[in-house]
């Protein structure tokens, strides 16, 4: 089989299995492990997870398509999500989104030509008290201003 987890991630998979009374419950955490390694969930990964957890491929596919955080296609090296929901919008989220689109030269949902950044909007990320905000890969950036955004995007383009 072409796809396999790295030994370290394989160990984590074994640890995940100890937490639940059955293997199916590990579907989401194991998909996260795979995406962490590969960037997106390919059909190969769907089959890999299905075999590892003794569940039908259709089950895994159904889970992948339900949750927005599983990428069904390759994405850029860095993920930028700008929160667009009301509490953030009340504090300037629409301007931040426009600013990002201008700076990166892409629309939300697209990836820059150099493959460095995928820009997307997000629904409320539980940081409404420090709005506007965005998430970059695993990091939250809060109380954004256009200067802060420029700095963040510049670093991503250099990454």
């Amino acid at each position: 089989m072409a796809f396999a987890l790295t030994p370290e991630r394989e160990r984590e998979l074994q640890d995940i299995l100890t937490r639940y009374p059955n293997k199916m419950a590990a579907t989401i955490p194991v998909l996260h492990l795979c995406q962490d390694q590969h960037g997106w969930i390919s059909d190969e990964i769907v089959h890999y997870v299905s075999q590892k957890l003794d569940v039908p491929p259709a089950h895994v596919k159904g889970v992948v398509t339900f949750y927005t955080l599983f990428n069904q296609h390759p994405v850029g090296k860095n993920q930028v999500w700008v929160c667009r929901t009301l509490p953030c919008a009340l504090r300037g989220a629409y301007d931040i989104i426009e600013h990002c689109e201008k700076r990166l030269g892409v629309k939300c949902g697209e990836t820059t030509k150099n493959g460095k950044v995928t820009l997307r909007t997000a629904e409320c990320l539980a940081s409404c008290g420090t709005a506007p905000m965005m998430q970059v890969n695993q990091q939250y950036y809060e109380d954004l201003t256009s200067e802060k955004v420029d700095e963040i995007l510049r670093k991503l383009q250099e990454s």
Partner: protein, 450 residues
């Protein structure tokens, strides 16, 4: 009445480690006392006295929920903690996970013992990476000290706590959807009954508690649950203790504050959050997350009946009613998650409405036709009015769509979409009509204060 407390927030500035929790917050003393000196039945009786209303949005009394758990001859039981925090406007649970994770672990130990479970899963939305890290860290520390594992505090009652993550779906905050997601399935809500207490996680009796609900349990048990309840000025309405109050939107100092239950919106906005941005007049407030109907700043309480719990505030501004589960219901909205979103005069209510309905359209799980089609139709129709192409019939159509969702769906997401829609339609009808007449235009619509 404004009264600050710091049962949960004291360690926020001191550190999130076990050391700090034990030294400064009498950490794990409540769990030790409960496991070593109380029976399960006593725990539940005591818990009821705290009058802790569920902090996840519905306000169900926690102790009563625990009492639904009956020992099963063959099946295990589970405690599941809801940290999916995704309701727009809600930003309190995350602070607990990041800055006081041990209160949650300790609450889980007491909760598991009380409901007869040996395992607790904390379901954290995947985006909250720091929260997951802090929770796992706290679990590890507690296990190393012998507070979790086979014999917590030396008592022969095993307790394990695990973190489980979602993958980006607001609907997974709905408790039965969350259970499906925990079991590794698509997060589609289940039909009730059976309720989780009968058949929840993995088909076993399960209690689902919000993260803040479980985090406050140690403080309540440490002080005595009745004394804890009485900290609230709404103790007489069985709405006890202290809560985390969030405030966001157009205020000078947004944030999260721990206060005795019963603070008013006016106190929260002006005394706690420093007033409205730019000292503008207030237009309206969404009291507890986007699913709770909006209140206009100029609304007045109408409760002439002396038996009504709201009668003491008859004729007064809604801003002067204490924020409680029953009191907010009394003024036609809900306390929800207790995090208020403030909108200053000048905010375009139609654009705000559109923003929210885009959220519900995006997040409907699609199982029920009224919700799937209705949320999309609401979004499209508001967009049409916003684009200047709407008619007065479209405004009536919006109410019809919302009314057709109410009561016709599997889960409360449907009401959570329809109720705020009906709220906006009722409260801002005049402004929406102005759009239809061409007196208000898309180009001038703003959500920010300049």
């Amino acid at each position: 009445m404004l009264r600050r407390t710091d049962y949960l927030t004291k360690v926020y500035s001191l550190g999130h480690t076990l050391d700090v929790y034990e030294k400064h917050a009498q950490g794990y003393q409540a769990a030790r006392k409960v496991l070593l000196s109380m029976t399960r039945e006593q725990v539940i009786e005591e818990a009821k006295k705290a009058n802790i209303r569920g902090r996840g949005g519905a306000g169900f009394p926690m102790g009563v929920k625990w009492s639904f758990m009956r020992p099963h001859p063959t099946k295990l039981a589970y405690l599941v903690i809801n940290a999916d925090e995704g309701e727009p406007g809600t930003h309190k649970d995350r602070t607990l996970m990041e800055w006081n994770p041990h209160s949650i672990v300790e609450g889980c130990i007491i909760g598991c013992y009380g409901i007869g479970a040996n395992t607790a899963y904390i379901y954290i939305r995947d985006e909250l990476h720091l929260s997951k890290e802090r929770m796992w860290g706290a679990i590890k520390e507690a296990r190393a000290k012998g507070y979790l594992g086979k014999t917590p505090f030396g008592k022969n009652y095993p307790v394990e706590v695990y973190v489980h993550t979602g993958a980006g779906a607001y609907i997974c905050g709905e408790e039965t959807s969350l259970l499906n997601s925990l079991e590794g399935r698509r997060g589609e809500p289940r039909l009730k009954p059976p309720f989780p207490a009968q058949a929840g996680a993995f088909g076993c009796p399960t209690t689902v508690n919000n993260l803040e609900t479980i985090a406050i349990v140690p403080a309540a048990f440490l002080m005595g649950c009745e004394a804890f309840s009485k900290l609230s000025s709404l103790h007489h309405l069985n709405d006890g203790g202290t809560r985390l109050y969030g405030i966001n939107g157009h205020v000078k100092k947004p944030g999260v504050h721990e206060l005795a239950v019963g603070v008013t919106l006016r106190e929260l906005i002006y005394d706690v959050a420093g007033g409205v941005l730019g000292d503008k007049p207030l237009m309206g407030v969404i009291p507890g997350g986007s699913s709770t109907p909006v209140l206009r700043a100029d609304e007045v309480v109408h409760a002439p009946d002396e038996k009504s719990p709201l009668n003491p505030w008859h004729g007064k501004s809604v801003l002067d009613v204490p924020l409680g589960v029953e009191t907010m219901r009394g003024v036609g909205t809900m306390l929800g998650t207790c995090c208020a979103t403030v909108m200053a005069e000048g905010t375009d209510p139609l654009l705000a409405f559109l923003n929210l309905m885009q959220f519900y359209h995006h997040e409907s799980c699609g199982q029920c036709t009224p919700c799937r089609e209705g949320s999309a139709w609401l979004d499209r129709t508001i967009q049409k009015i916003f684009d200047g192409e709407g008619t007065m019939e479209d405004l009536n159509l919006l109410s019809d769509i919302a009314n057709n969702i109410m009561g016709n769906t599997i889960c409360a997401f449907g009401e959570g979409t329809a109720m705020p829609a009906l709220g906006f339609l009722k409260k801002f009808r005049k402004e929406f009509e102005a759009y239809v007449r061409g007196e208000r235009r898309k180009g001038q619509a703003r959500l920010t204060v300049n």
